[in-house]
């Protein structure tokens, strides 16, 4: 497959475009996903393409029926996504920020996630919820959450968080094609990052972690933008005198969890650090530590270390926010602590 260098934003746009072209039951809805839904003047059409411009150009290609702006009514349109999924469409619903889940959680966790089970298998809900995560945008406490952990908590949902443009494209295509509800977490901080992305149809199966860097001394499991933080830490350590060789496992799929890949790496290196930007309590980070404690304890040559956000909301001031988000330096320290 030939590749080009495009951004994470473009990769998602491309995947959506391809899936909409391929399957006419795929639709997109959300607030301002075009912009100016009240006006059909060409100048206005597509004024935004979503708050981060990710869905730009789609309305021209697929029209206002399939690329659908909504009122500010998250329960209403999230539930409409669930109902549409149950009756034969394959909706992609944009929730602008994951922190807005509070106003529509029921439709996700009590309806979408449980419907198939409660109905004894008589429904399927091929719904994809696109949402944004990540601090570092100086967007303060209600617009900077990375609370994917609460979705992982709910049986019936799948949860994905890509770190690279290529993964974003491939996993988004897989999420749309998947017959279960998937929460697809786009990191705001990554939208402008670029990387090689295969052209044309490109699908990465859900549920597979990816080793972004091989190493032998310590396993660093990371999620979304923390993969980049982990990679920087790994490079620093490789260059340093101590010459520690770190393996970086990009979880990618948070539910289902690729236990095999994580465990194999832990068993190989004997050491585990988990880097996660989400709140630390009841998190994917504690899940990974639990994997080690329950299934690989005899392989561990030192304590497990977590590098996460503190147990605080995301602060606004850049001075505080930069301290909030895990850094390569903290990862390096944590790795050292596993060696004691």
């Amino acid at each position: 497959m030939s590749e080009r260098i495009i951004s994470y934003r473009e990769a998602i746009n491309e995947a959506l475009r391809l899936e909409m072209a391929r399957d006419e039951t795929v639709i997109l809805m959300g607030e301002d996903v075009t912009g100016a839904p009240h006006s059909d003047e060409p100048d206005h059409l597509d004024a935004w393409g979503g708050v981060f411009g990710v869905t730009k150009g789609l309305v021209q290609e697929f029209g206002r029926e399939r690329v659908r702006d909504t009122p500010i009514t998250e329960s209403g349109f999230m539930g409409a996504g669930v109902g549409a999924a149950a009756t034969g469409l394959r909706p992609v619903v944009e929730l602008m920020f994951i922190g807005f889940m509070g106003v529509c959680l029921d439709q996700v966790v009590n309806q979408a996630a449980k419907m198939r089970y409660m109905f004894g298998g008589k429904a399927k809900i091929p719904l994809t919820v696109r949402t944004t995560i990540g601090a570092g945008f100086r967007a303060a406490a209600q617009h900077s959450d990375s609370i994917y952990s609460i979705f992982v908590h709910f049986p019936g949902l799948k949860v994905v968080a890509p770190a690279t443009p290529a993964d974003a494209k491939g996993l988004f295509a897989a999420a749309i094609r998947d017959d279960d509800p998937v929460i697809f977490c786009e990191n705001k901080i990554l939208l402008d990052t670029k990387g090689p992305v295969p052209e044309g149809e490109y699908v990465i199966p859900l549920g597979k972690a990816d080793i972004k860097r091989e190493g032998k001394d310590v396993t660093i499991v990371a999620i979304s933008n923390m993969v980049n933080v982990a990679l920087k830490a790994a490079e620093q350590m490789a260059r340093n005198g101590d010459g520690i060789s770190a393996e970086v496992v990009d979880l990618r799929s948070l539910s289902p969890l690729d236990e095999e890949t994580v465990l194999a790496s832990i068993k190989k290196t004997g050491r585990l650090v988990v880097v996660d930007e989400d709140n630390p309590r009841c998190s994917v980070a504690t899940d990974i530590a639990t994997l080690a404690a329950t299934q690989a304890i005899e392989y561990l040559n030192g304590p497990v270390r977590l590098v996460t956000a503190p147990h605080t909301p995301v602060p606004f001031s850049p001075a505080l926010e930069d301290f909030y988000v895990p850094t390569p330096a903290r990862v390096v320290n944590a790795v050292r602590e596993t060696m004691i």
Binding site: I27, E65, R66, T70, P71, T73, S75, G76, F77, M78, G79, A80, G81, V82, G83, A84, A85, A86, T87, G88, L89, P91, D106, Q107, N110, Q111, M115, R116, Y117, M118, F119, G120, G121, K122, A123, K124, P155, G156, K158, D178, D179, D180, G207, S255, P256, L257, E259, D287, T290, L291, T294, Q295
Partner: protein, 334 residues
């Protein structure tokens, strides 16, 4: 009256089936045979029946915690419903959902719902599918007077209006949300008036009169099928039993109940059809007998059906998911 004979027979049979189903559950619950929360629809039969008389299998409904009547009127199999409520493997949901979650998507029944206000957004979604696929399917969203105060319900009204969806909102105002009357919970003149504020045609009708309901909904259905958007109907009705089985109903007076019982929807229907010679006593009696048999068979079916195997606990959560991830961090128990 321009309702054909078959439809009249169907209406009577449907109302009678619902009543008999609920009365049976009431008895069996008291006897300790039925587990869980069971909300009975007895008294409200005319609403589900009058509404669904206008629908085909391809149309959709969303329902509530008080869903048995909607299920029966939409054609869900009575035996499977009974087995479901008994928690049996042969149930409509293999015993996984119970009374509050009976569904049959193939019959257009998108599920009872344990969340008050859970249905209206879902109904908008079913309406959206019809709109985008260009079919003439309509979706009816049933909900209660209490549910009319839930934000999700009001969002559903607005969204259906904005998108001109083929959705009909049927508010079953039975005078109570658990113990609480709409006099206390609904600000404003009444529920139908509130819906008017969302710019949709809205009427309040006698919910004990199946023919009146049928008529009002017929109009709403053709409006929806024509692509002219949503309609709101408030049906004023009453539930005979407690909020759920086990409720001692101390929040309302006995004579209120008796007054409603004297206007019972089945009695009234019988009166009208006999008076106008639309159906005969023999036809009605035959239905009564038939229904009695159906319910007895349903109970026997439920009783004799097996409980689900514990292996079933893991199935139907996902279409696809790695099986070992279903017991994370531990071995599956024996």
């Amino acid at each position: 009256m321009d309702i054909n004979h078959d439809k009249l027979l169907w209406m009577y049979k449907t109302m009678r089936s619902i009543r008999a189903f609920e009365d049976q559950l009431h008895t069996d619950f008291a006897a300790g045979k039925i587990p869980g929360f069971v909300h009975l629809y007895a008294g409200e039969e005319a609403v589900a029946t009058g509404v669904c008389a206008n629908l085909t299998d391809r149309d959709y409904i969303t329902s509530t915690h008080r869903g048995h009547g909607h299920c029966i009127a939409k054609g869900v199999d009575i035996k499977e419903m009974m087995a479901e409520i008994h928690g049996k493997a042969t149930g409509a949901c293999k015993g996984k959902g119970g009374s509050m979650h009976i569904a049959d998507v193939n019959k257009g029944m998108l599920g009872a719902n344990g969340i008050v206000g859970g249905g209206p957004p879902l109904a908008c979604g079913a309406g959206l599918t019809a709109k985008l696929k260009g079919t003439d399917q309509v979706t009816v969203c049933f909900f209660g007077d209490g549910a009319s105060n839930q934000g999700t319900t009001m969002e559903g009204l607005n969204l259906a209006g904005v998108w001109k969806l083929p959705v009909i909102f049927v508010c079953e105002n039975n005078g109570y949300a658990e113990t609480t009357s709409p006099q206390y919970s609904v600000s404003g003149q009444d529920i139908a008036a509130r819906a008017r504020g969302f710019g949709m045609p809205s009427v309040a009708i006698d919910g004990l009169d199946v023919l009146a309901i049928h008529e009002a909904v017929r109009e709403a259905v053709s409006r929806a099928r024509r692509g002219d958007g949503p309609t709101f109907i408030e049906a004023q009705t009453y539930r005979y039993y407690g909020h759920f089985e086990g409720d001692t109903v101390k929040y309302r007076d006995k004579d209120e109940e008796e007054q409603y019982r004297s206007r019972d929807c089945l009695l009234r229907f019988r009166g009208v059809v006999l008076e106008h010679g639309l159906l005969t006593q023999a036809e009605l009696d035959a239905i009564d007998a038939d229904v009695k048999k159906t319910i007895a068979e349903a109970v026997a079916f439920a009783d004799s059906s097996p409980l689900p195997d514990t292996k079933e606990i893991l199935t139907d959560v996902y279409v696809s998911f790695p099986e070992k991830e279903m017991w994370p961090f531990q071995a599956a128990p024996a």
